[in-house]
Symmetry: C2
Subunit: 298 residues, 2 copies
Amino acid sequence: MSLWSEKVLQLLRRMNSFHSPGSSLEKCLRFEVGGQQVGWVPPNVVSVLCRFPEVFSPPHGGAVALCPGLDSLERRSAAVEAVLQELRDGGAFACLKGWRNERYAVMPRYCDAPLMHMERAATSLFGVKRYGVHVSGFSRDGNGNLSMWLARRSNTKQTYPGKLDNLAAGGLAAGCTVKHTLVKECEEEACIPASVAEKATPVGTISYTYEDEDGVFPECQFVFDLELPSNFRPEIGDGEVQDFYYYPIKKVKELLASEEFKPNCAMVVLDFLIRHSVIEPDSEPYYQEFVASLHRSL
Amino acid sequence: MSLWSEKVLQLLRRMNSFHSPGSSLEKCLRFEVGGQQVGWVPPNVVSVLCRFPEVFSPPHGGAVALCPGLDSLERRSAAVEAVLQELRDGGAFACLKGWRNERYAVMPRYCDAPLMHMERAATSLFGVKRYGVHVSGFSRDGNGNLSMWLARRSNTKQTYPGKLDNLAAGGLAAGCTVKHTLVKECEEEACIPASVAEKATPVGTISYTYEDEDGVFPECQFVFDLELPSNFRPEIGDGEVQDFYYYPIKKVKELLASEEFKPNCAMVVLDFLIRHSVIEPDSEPYYQEFVASLHRSL
């Protein structure tokens, strides 16, 4: 096995750490809203939630549930928001310091109607699945050789400062379509006009679940390809990005093993390399492991 | 939800029936060779294997294992083959009537060295994972509109007679590369010259596990796209196919809901429709379920 393959496999394992033997999966309680599971709550969070019996029913049968009296999206969202604000003020959880005033929809599956909304910074405490969109910007030269645009995240970003990112990416806020979010992020982060961004084509999703001291992160990213004219140049927009690079695909592949990337962006690149035949099954021993690890769901 | 979406979701659920609540998963024993799991053995098979204590150790700790004295690929393959031939002669399992003299490699993961070889028709008795390759043949007209080649399987095929299939497909026999198998199947089934077939590009895998009366079927198909000139015509080769059709992609999409397809070929088409943006996340509510269901592993 090549060192590159091993490094990439390690990255994929880290991004699926919640699935690994010895993870907190067996200790977590199901988070249930309206009788349906929408997440996983780590034990240290459960004990804090028990202090709010008017919002969370006492743990029962391996689950912690919102009180049944909270019977509408609005009531649930408001009750949980009040708890989270109190916990934020009390400094209970470090992740709440990253409060963003971005509300994510909470539902059992993406196709289901939202049962409540939740502040983005709090979702890991409940293991609520988050959805986002990532755009791979690339061009081909006259011989069909691929090059890809990468962004370097600003050093002042709250998460993964200074790491490599895809051309544009963003979380799906409640009520926003995937395409709308994509066009907005392309415009804000890379000054890509809507007329160009709208040409991005959906090519699938990546899914993974990791855990860290902030909780459980089940995530699904909708993945888009955006083929750009070879004279196209993105520009720094809202300050989320400090630089853009345009690299031959071979160099992008090498960087995957370098820890330079924000990890889920590396997964988007890996998916691109597989779909565009930069990685092939007869020469990459972990080909099947790679594909499987890009699509794990709970 | 559209009827089409529901039908496709049902197909995906059937092809992942081993993962469903109520499947035999919890009753199956792990099949272990050289201390590593390589499959799942249904209870009815376990009781038959117990009649061969010189080959299979008595079930222990939720596993049935090859006797440790069988310590090489050759010894394991020969000992199991002798058992299977006896069972075949005795008419013990219907699936052994389909004996093909095709040997599949048995290993924990695709990247691992084979621990033994096993007759293709017997793999479901041990829930051993099978690998294959499927090729989607397609063309674009001057406006970029996609059309796809489909094959109709011969009415005399042992499995899924008369069903729709991809342009070419085949199982990976022990020791064969993915590309070699692809080129061979393209030539044999559709008279596609090697010079054309070699242009097929790898684009990922699909993985799923179903069970039926013949046992457990964990499968992984390496998926290739083959863009063909619009004047290209496949021809009937070795009689595995009775006809080829060239359909606009919209018609191919509709056929996915019709039960006309061999089910794993429908999954290959669904993966194609997603990668080529025929299905989009903002208009297909089950987009994320579809992608996840195309990539389930045990």
